[in-house]
């Protein structure tokens, strides 16, 4: 199945792109998507302990299920305001 991966701020810079299309095998979770991405781009790993994740623009947990067509986002610590 196919998911859209969204990356922001420094995660985006490290990956060289803010939006990636990726194939993952079902059944998948956010963690599955992350692990395959981190294997591909090892520099991302430093964010594993501090990032937040979202599925289809809702905050989610690493264990959340991911389905075909979903948008999975990885968010570094926020600095708005």
């Amino acid at each position: 199945m196919r998911v859209t991966v969204r990356l922001f701020a420094r995660l985006r810079d490290l990956a060289g792109s803010g939006e990636l299309m990726r194939e993952v095998e079902a059944p998948a979770t956010v963690r599955t998507v992350w692990q395959s991405l981190a294997a591909e781009i090892p520099a991302l790993v430093e964010y594993e302990g501090t990032m937040s994740v979202a599925v289809n623009a809702e905050y989610a947990r690493m264990a959340a299920a991911v389905h075909d067509g979903d948008e999975v986002a990885f968010l570094p610590p926020v600095s708005g305001g």
Partner: protein, 158 residues
């Protein structure tokens, strides 16, 4: 414009306030917060900032904060606009308005809201300073973190 919004346009506190208090003759108090881009940060001379957002989630997070505030202070109404894109020194990056029959609630809700923005809204600033550029990173965002909410309530002096 909706009461909770992420926008590339300059912010207008007067318009947001007018929208918020129109037709609510029971409100006697309006507390407002405006965040401005500063020329210095952590000893660096700042040239400008670039704000990036995960826009749909950021708008929902602002709405979530408004709902949280209304759980604690049921009588308040709140509006919040966050600007993104390139902002110059002195530009407003965020405006928050809280209206209420009484001032204590309006102040507390406004104070609470800006703390929560910094905790859970997926927006990031890239600082362009004299000598380089850097992504600023604050808090790992977890809207369900009760400890973070408690801190925000404590700061709001509830």
């Amino acid at each position: 414009m909706p009461l909770a919004a992420v926008t590339r346009e300059p912010l207008d506190l007067q318009a947001l306030t007018r929208d918020l208090v129109q037709g609510t003759p029971g409100d006697g108090a309006v507390a407002a917060f405006t965040g401005l881009v500063r020329h210095r940060n952590q000893g660096r001379t700042v040239h400008f900032l670039e704000y990036e957002a995960y826009e749909p989630l950021a708008a929902k997070a602002l709405e979530r904060i408004i709902n949280e505030a209304r759980e604690t202070w049921p009588a308040i109404r709140m509006g919040m606009h966050h600007r993104i894109g390139r902002l110059e020194i002195g530009d407003a990056s965020i405006i928050i308005v809280a209206a209420s029959p009484h001032r204590a609630d309006a102040f507390a809700a406004c104070r609470y809201a800006i703390e929560r923005v910094k905790q859970i809204v997926p927006i990031w600033k890239r600082e362009h300073f004299e000598g380089g550029e850097i992504w600023l990173e604050g808090a790992p965002a977890d809207p369900d973190d009760e400890q973070a909410k408690l801190i925000a309530h404590k700061i709001a002096c509830v």
